[in-house]
Amino acid sequence: MSREEIRETLSEIFADVMDLDEVALTDATTADDIEEWDSLSHVRLIVAVEREWGISFTNAEIEGFKCVGDLVSAIAAKAG
């Protein structure tokens, strides 16, 4: 699965979790860019990502995510 494809699926998950109509994610997108992306919705975001790709992250990994690009890389590494 390409980074492009992962980002696309991720956009849908963001829309679902944050209850947004449309989300345009880039690798550089951070929580500062999306108002609804706070610590609470972040927990649900990770749950949704883990469910979607059938993977799981450690808390250390989760704390290391600074932007969407970090998350995409982690998904790509785990989901192959």
Binding site: D16, V17, D19, L40, V43, R44, V47, T58, N59
Partner: protein, 641 residues
């Protein structure tokens, strides 16, 4: 996997592709949104994200939501962990059970302090129910104890939760006491249960105390420990989420938790279902009786399929034993449909078990409405089990208020679907519940007797009724509370009181209270009416007057009035005052007081009416029944002697 997915609420239909579109559409316009539209979106199995989205829409609608059809309930959520997901999930899941829940959540860690403060946020909120939930880590039970300090740790933990529950009860709210889920990981392994200092044993000891407390307070228990076991303890108790966000259990299980919390609150508000309506072919037996005949259908020992269908029947009978009424709606010829009930040796269900039996070719939604009408209950008290997805979809479309659980392909799972759905959840089981199914059958016999006699007055005399009139007492308490919370139609004021309230009324000198029972030659109807008047020197004001619809048109209300009037006169009062407060469902009693001879005394705010009966000129009518009990009017006792 062939099991029923518990965590994904496998008994509920899946949300359609267009779920989010339908949700968004609610906030698009400017017009009022009926509560039923929100309830419809809440009915499918929703994951946490969707529950939160639904709750946001409800908040956004604000005054545009027409709450008619939803029962409002104010719930304080006193939890020792992160509640940010629990509260919206509970509010959204409550809509599935036709409850409009407002929540109050104290700041993290302040639940006990807030409960004990006499004024402050919790008191201002005016909670009707207080959910007391905790976690073994917050309670200090995570660490094993090798010194004998475990008793003190258990006492401290249980005392903390009891403090919140008692404060809630004292403030007039109903505490809902959640047991503490035991940790997934053992200390010494299988030995843990035998070691009082193990975390598992400490949690078990706390839970035993919580159960005793609940029994003492008459409060419902939310058995979260059992729920964790059901969901899988290792999935429930997820340490990563505890460390990450202080979530007491895995967020994937929040929809399950929320549905269980909501069903208990719904049961507390008398919203439990009363009747299970069963399809026949491929639901109670394998095959089609009209095509396959008595020998061709699969039922009973000898085949796995046949045993599964027999288990469905056994489960239906277990519901009947606790007062759930059984009915049949099937597309069949009537005689073919009844054949297995009469002649198949492996049938557990017999015709006598079925209160209403409809087998014809009319569409099932129409026939379900007929079942409700025959039993004198609302269609929202029905649960419909049918193996055919098309029939289920049709009924859901025509009668969205009928609960139609998803039936998995394998009939072996039908009982589990019914059991896990919680549609027959109850917060108390009274001795009367067990008799109810028989009472519906007796009603059918009475109807037959009526048909034979013809004249209604003669018919009432022929019933040989005895009406027992007594003040509230300890024995009747649970049933009184149940009637007060469940009766919708014959209920003048629809005021709800908890069992604890009822206990207080028993000794309150400012309250005249009465419970009525009715027997006749066909059987015992049990307790069928509850009445309370606020007493005053001049006038007595009716606070509550309700009656079971099973005994409509039996002149029981006149017998009850005779008892009230007799007591009021003896106390020196001059008149009785009665209010009719309209609700969604009580239109049938709009003319109640007028029918009893009360005079109109003006309108009340909110569409109600007030009625007055001057006791001076009032005369007791002749009643077709014997009156007994401590509150039977003096004249009737003399007449009997």
């Amino acid at each position: 996997m062939s099991g029923l997915p518990i965590r994904d609420l496998g008994w509920l239909e899946r949300p359609g592709e267009d779920w989010r579109t339908r949700l968004k559409a609610l906030t698009a316009g400017k017009e009022t949104v009926p509560g039923a539209a929100l309830a419809a979106l809440a009915r499918p199995a929703l994951n946490l994200d969707r529950l939160i989205a639904l709750d946001r829409v409800r908040t956004k609608l604000g005054g545009r939501l027409d709450p008619a059809g939803l029962t409002p309930l104010r719930v304080a959520l006193m939890a020792d962990a992160t509640t940010d997901y629990l509260a919206p999930a509970l509010r959204a899941s409550a809509l599935r059970h036709e409850l409009l829940v407002e929540t109050h959540v104290p700041a993290y860690g302040e639940a006990l302090a807030e409960a004990l403060a006499e004024d402050g946020a919790l008191a201002d909120f005016g909670a009707e129910a207080v959910l007391v939930a905790s976690d073994y880590r917050s309670l200090g039970l995570a660490a094993p104890r090798t010194d004998p300090g475990e008793a003190a740790a258990v006492a401290a933990a249980a005392g903390r939760l009891a403090g919140i529950a008692r404060a809630a009860a004292a403030a007039g709210a109903t505490p809902v006491i959640q047991t503490v889920p035991a940790p997934a990981d053992p200390w010494c392994g299988h030995l843990d249960a035998a070691l009082p200092g193990s975390p598992a044993a400490q949690v078990a000891a706390v839970n035993a105390q919580l159960r005793a407390l609940a029994a003492e307070l008459g409060a419902p228990v939310f058995d979260a420990d059992a729920l964790a076991g059901l969901a899988g303890r290792a999935e429930w108790d997820d340490p990563a989420y505890w460390h990450r966000a202080k979530l007491a259990f895995a967020p994937d299980l929040i929809p399950l938790w929320a549905d269980h919390a909501a069903r208990i609150l719904a049961a507390l508000r008398g919203k439990a279902r009363k009747c299970l309506v069963l399809d026949l072919d491929n639901t109670l037996w394998g095959g089609v009786i009209g095509d396959d005949g008595l020998e061709g259908i699969r039922l009973g020992q000898g085949s796995a399929d046949g045993e599964a269908f027999q288990a469905v029947q056994a489960y239906a009978l277990s519901l009947k034993a606790r007062g759930i009424v059984l009915a049949v709606v099937s597309k069949n010829e009537d005689d073919a449909a009844r054949l297995p009930f009469r002649q198949h040796p492996e049938m557990l269900l017999r015709e006598a078990d079925i209160a209403v039996f409809i087998a014809d070719w009319t569409d099932k939604a129409t026939n379900l409405a007929r079942v409700a009408k025959t039993l004198n209950i609302g269609t929202d008290a029905l649960v419909f089990l049918d193996d055919n997805p098309a029939e289920r979809a049709r009924v859901r479309q025509m009668l969205p208020e009928v609960a139609v659980p998803e039936a998995p392909e394998d009939p072996a799972l039908f009982p589990r679907v019914l059991a896990q759905s919680g549609l027959f959840e109850t917060v108390a089981l009274s001795a009367e519940d067990a008799k109810r199914a028989a009472q519906y059958a007796e009603n059918a016999e009475r109807a037959a007797a009526m048909a034979e006699i013809g004249d209604y007055g003669d018919y009432l005399v022929s019933l040989e009724m005895t009406c027992d009139l007594a003040p509230f007492d300890r024995v009747g308490r649970a049933r009184i509370a149940q009637l007060v919370n469940k009766s919708n139609q014959f209920n003048l004021t629809t005021r709800r009181y908890t069992e604890a309230d009822i206990a207080r009324f028993e000794t309150d000198p400012g309250v005249f209270d009465l419970q009525a029972r009715l027997t006749d030659r066909f059987g015992d109807n049990g307790m069928i009416s509850v009445v309370m008047f606020r007493t005053g020197p001049e006038e007595w004001l009716c606070d509550t007057w309700l009656m079971s619809c099973r005994v409509l048109k039996r002149r029981v209300e006149e017998a009850v009035l005779a008892a009230v009037a007799d007591a009021a006169r003896a106390a020196g009062a001059k008149r009785l005052v009665g209010d009719y407060l309209p609700s969604e469902k009580n239109r049938m009693v709009a003319g109640h007081f007028e029918g009893l001879g009360f005079a109109a005394a003006g309108d009340l705010p909110g569409g109600g009416t007030r009625w007055v009966l001057e006791l001076d000129g009032w005369r007791v009518p002749e009643l077709p029944m014997r009156l007994t009990g401590a509150l039977a009017p003096g004249w009737s006792r003399e007449a009997a002697e």
